[in-house]
């Protein structure tokens, strides 16, 4: 009886030791791969955000631009306005041709979609009402339906519109200045987009006044 028990304990210990050892063995190369790619992943994300800010401010950058191409353009046009803790509150878009006067703002806003949070960058003119552009940086909507908010036609329609938006119209229908075309089959996503865009028009005037 006791020998059976002992061998069982031994078997347990052997199993546990095996599991721990094998975990270390496999996690080691994985950690190495993570450390190797960490900086690149971070850079990709930062670069993506910078591109989104430029896009929302309607500042053109070459297609397939590398980090080295984006940074000079970004630094020339964009000033990051941070709070005392160092968190970016909003972006000031400067006009370098007229001594750096402000020609707009970009603001990161987010809100619920159908499946999760949608985050977008909204660019506005100095009146804080006229939209210069919209770009979505994070969304997990249904591919082929809600995820189509990333399609060019959808994003481009916002340029020149006046917020806050109070109505969405059907896809391909003409939309007024405070309306935009929703995506067919993605009502909740389109509605979420409307709400998160509208946050810009209430939030931004408040924080830009603080920032002064």
């Amino acid at each position: 009886m006791s020998t059976v028990k002992k061998s069982k304990t031994q078997e347990y210990i052997k199993t546990i030791v095996f599991m721990v050892a094998i975990t270390f063995l496999f996690i080691a190369p994985l950690s190495f791969a993570y450390l190797k790619t960490k900086d690149m992943v971070k850079q990709n994300e930062l670069m993506f955000l910078k591109k989104a800010v430029l896009y929302s401010a309607n500042i053109k950058y070459p297609d397939g631009a590398k980090v080295s191409d984006i940074d000079p353009i970004y630094n020339k046009y964009v000033a990051e306005i941070r709070n005392p803790e160092g968190k970016i509150l909003y972006y000031q878009i400067k006009d370098p041709d007229s001594g750096g006067s402000i020609k707009g703002y970009a603001y990161v806003t987010s809100g619920p979609g159908l499946w999760g949070e949608i985050t977008g960058v909204v660019g506005v003119a100095p009146d804080k009402k006229t939209v210069t552009g919209v770009e979505f940086i994070k969304q997990g909507e249904t591919p082929g339906l809600g995820a189509r908010i990333e399609e060019v036609w959808f994003k481009e329609q916002f340029r020149g519109k006046t917020g806050p938006f109070n109505k969405t119209v059907a896809e391909k229908d003409p939309a007024g200045a405070d309306q935009f075309q929703a995506i067919t089959g993605a009502t909740i996503t389109s509605d979420g987009v409307k709400k998160l865009l509208n946050k810009t028009f209430t939030d931004l005037p408040k924080i830009t006044q603080d920032g002064k």
Binding site: E11, F18, M19, A33, Y34, V41, P143
Partner: protein, 205 residues
């Protein structure tokens, strides 16, 4: 490796024992990713890579893994390969990675990978397990790509993101949603099992 064994592995993966329409495995991803062809292809490549390498690794270790924890070990091995795919995509192909979102991580839970590790790799040598992984993956891929082709075409009038159907075509929104996946998969299984595999079974009897 003998020729007849290789032949069997290939025909099993592609036809007789196909993971999707015969074993009905990997259905979750079949429904989730097949509404756009491009995502489907990347998913398939990721799955082939993971199944082949994880089966091979499990097979190498099969004599040392304690039976009690074999599934934990299998999941660990699968997860390692999947995370490597995810990291590589994030670092070197950020755009594709963004489009695929959570799908790459979901390969870990794809029953086919686990099924091949359990059902084949634990009792076969590494070379054969590797091949088995590849052909199970290919068997999965061609079914998914067929379904994705039809769903993308009917659901958004596009193939590979390029508009092919004109204005006269009204998109079937249901095709890009999950129910469309159910219908297509059911029709696919119906056709294959009703007209192709059935003949073989009758002959056998």
């Amino acid at each position: 490796m003998q020729i007849h064994k290789i032949k069997k592995i290939i025909s099993d993966g592609l036809g007789k024992n196909n993971p999707v329409f015969y074993q009905i495995l990997g259905i979750c991803s079949t429904l989730a990713v097949t509404n756009v062809l491009k995502n489907t292809l990347v998913m398939c490549l990721g799955l082939i890579f993971t199944t082949a390498l994880s089966s091979m690794t499990v097979s190498f270790m099969r004599k040392h893994i304690p039976t009690r924890v074999r599934m934990m070990v299998e999941v660990l091995i699968i997860a390692v390969y999947v995370i490597i795919v995810d990291l590589v995509l994030k670092a070197y192909a950020p755009d594709i990675s963004r489009q695929l979102g959570p799908y790459v991580g979901l390969i870990i839970t794809n029953c086919i990978v686990m099924g091949r590790a359990e059902g084949f790799a634990l009792s076969n040598p590494p070379g054969e397990s590797f091949l088995d992984g590849i052909f199970s993956g290919v068997g999965y891929s061609y079914v998914l790509l067929t379904i994705a082709f039809i769903r993308e075409l009917m659901g958004s009038g596009k193939i590979w993101g390029i508009q092919v159907l004109g204005d006269w075509w009204t998109n079937w929104s249901i095709m890009v949603m999950a129910p469309g996946g159910f219908f297509m998969l059911a029709i696919f299984i119906w056709i294959v099992k009703g007209y192709i595999i059935k003949d073989k079974e009758v002959k056998k009897a």
